[in-house]
């Protein structure tokens, strides 16, 4: 070995030196670095998992939101439809009520008009009768002379019977 130029002692020393260097490097540099890398990896994995979870939660929230929106829309539509129905019903009822009231008013007005017309008609008839009879009365007063009056009186007296007195004039006998 010595002939080959290899110094055993130096070689052993170098080997020991290298071994020592390897042990030291391995212990104080490689292992913490690997640990750090593993930790980083784990952290990345955790982050990815968390991100995935967040995404899932977000998706779930979006789904929930969509469902809630759909439900709200459905409820809104339902309420609107119910409100429309109710308003239509109220409108119909109001129309029916109004029609009923109009009909009542019409009937009442018709009755009132009829009553007023009848009253007016009666009043006019009464006035015409009164005026006519006054005219007849005045006319008779002017037209009849004493001989005519005498004739009428005689005729009344001639036609008068006891029966007539009882039936026709009893009502005018004032006590």
């Amino acid at each position: 070995m010595e002939n080959l130029g290899i110094d055993i002692k130096l070689l052993v020393a170098q080997l020991l030196n290298f071994l020592l260097f390897f042990i030291i490097i391995n212990k104080f540099l490689v292992k913490p670095f690997l640990l750090f890398l593993n930790q980083e990896k784990k952290q990345d994995k955790d982050k990815e998992e968390a991100l995935s979870k967040i995404k899932k939660i977000e998706e779930s929230l979006i789904d929930d939101q969509t469902r809630a929106k759909a439900k709200i829309n459905q409820e809104y539509n339902k309420i609107m439809e119910q409100a429309k129905k109710d308003s239509q019903q109220i409108k119909d009822e109001m129309i029916i009520q109004a029609q009923k009231e109009v009909e009542e008013i019409r009937i009442r007005m018709k009755k009132q008009l009829e009553a007023e017309r009848n009253a007016l008609y009666k009043d006019i008839k009464e006035q015409i009768t009164t005026v006519s009879l006054n005219l007849v009365s005045d006319g008779l007063k002017e037209a009849l002379d004493d001989s005519d009056k005498s004739k009428i009186t005689k005729r009344i007296l001639m036609k008068l019977t006891t029966k007539d007195l009882i039936t026709n004039y009893n009502g005018h006998l004032d006590e």
């Binding site: 004493d146 007296l157 005018h172 004032d174």
Partner: protein, 94 residues
């Protein structure tokens, strides 16, 4: 207040006589002066009435015919009454 019985009787008799006279009192109202013939006809139609004290009154508003008042009773045979009856009849027919 006490009233003398004699006075009371006299008053009662006077009033009953007066009532009796008034009850029998005949008043005939016509629109013209009645002729004797008409008065006779009237008396023949109502012989039960006291014609001796009868009063004859002229009222042009009667138009024609007669109104006989006997006491408080009225027998209306006038044309005016007939017209009034006609008026009532027309009113009632409405």
């Amino acid at each position: 207040m006490r009233i003398n019985p004699h006075l009371k009787n006299d008053l009662r008799k006077y009033l009953s006589d007066k009532i009796l006279t008034e009850k029998k009192k005949v008043t005939v109202t016509s629109s013209y002066v009645l002729e004797a013939e008409e008065i006779r006809l009237l008396q023949s139609k109502f012989p039960q009435l006291d014609w001796k004290t009868a009063k004859f009154v002229v009222d042009p508003s009667v138009i024609a015919g007669l109104i006989i008042n006997v006491g408080s009773r009225v027998i209306n045979l006038s044309l005016k009454e007939s017209l009034l009856n006609l008026k009532h009849l027309i009113y009632e027919s409405y």
